[in-house]
């Protein structure tokens, strides 16, 4: 069973890895991706990013894709944490952890999960710029292409 959380609070990557691997001697590799708030977008300075989500559907969709990844890549464990609310540059946004017996499956599963999270989970980002203006982030075609390369998810 994957660990799925949507939360306002920051997460501790080391603590999450420890929790995922505690008591497991069968793990040979841990894939890890941490998404963070960048301080620029399109050449403009960002002072904050605010994330909104669809409570209920988000957790359900994340659990479904985690279960798919566990089966497809023969994972031993998986953690998905996504933050919501107001975040500032440098803060973490999203954590993907995948454990497997061997590195290839752990790394591939991590890429699959973050590609899918960007296109299939109901989160929306709003950027606040240095001049006080704010705008919703538009979806990127590259993200759709990145998710599509894994086939129907």
């Amino acid at each position: 069973m994957a660990t799925i959380r949507v939360q306002a609070a920051a997460f501790d990557v080391g603590a999450e890895i420890s929790a995922l691997t505690a008591g497991r001697a069968d793990v040979g590799g841990i894939g890890c991706f941490v998404g963070t708030v960048r301080n620029t977008a399109g050449g403009r300075t960002i002072t904050a990013m605010t994330l909104e989500h669809y409570p209920g559907m988000t957790e359900r969709a994340m659990a479904e894709i985690a279960a798919q990844a566990e089966q497809r890549f023969a994972l031993l464990g998986c953690t998905l944490i996504h933050r919501v609310g107001r975040l500032e540059p440098g803060e973490n946004i999203v954590l993907v952890l995948a454990t497997s017996a061997h590195r290839a499956a752990a790394l591939e599963a991590t890429a699959f999960l973050i590609d899918w999270l960007k296109t299939g989970a109901p989160f929306w980002k709003k950027e606040t710029f240095a001049d006080g203006a704010a705008a919703w982030v538009a979806a990127r075609e590259e993200d759709d292409a990145a998710a599509a390369r894994w086939g129907g998810a």
Partner: protein, 91 residues
């Protein structure tokens, strides 16, 4: 219980759709003949300027029925939760 032919729906709006419509969620009773997501969008657009503005660019609007992604042809029925939102931008 809704009266004959009408459907009672819970409708949710997210991100810029929520801002343009001016509400995050509402309970609505839709008239007979609203059988699909596309029918519902057409009905919502006629409710006022905020709705018309929100639903102009239908290509950039996504929908979920009962928390699963749904296309314009997806059927809707009384008791359903229908959500409208822009393409997702998480991760």
């Amino acid at each position: 219980m809704s009266s004959a032919g009408t459907a009672r729906l819970r409708i949710l709006y997210f991100a810029w759709l929520r801002e343009r419509v001016g509400t995050a969620e509402e309970e609505v009773e839709v008239p007979p003949g609203i059988a699909t997501v596309a029918d519902l969008v057409a009905w919502l657009k006629a409710r006022g300027p905020g709705f018309a503005a929100a639903f102009t660019a239908t290509k950039t609007i996504r929908c979920a029925v009962n928390q699963s992604f749904a296309g314009p042809e997806a059927p809707i029925a009384t008791g359903d939760e229908v959500a409208f939102f822009p393409p997702v931008t998480g991760g």
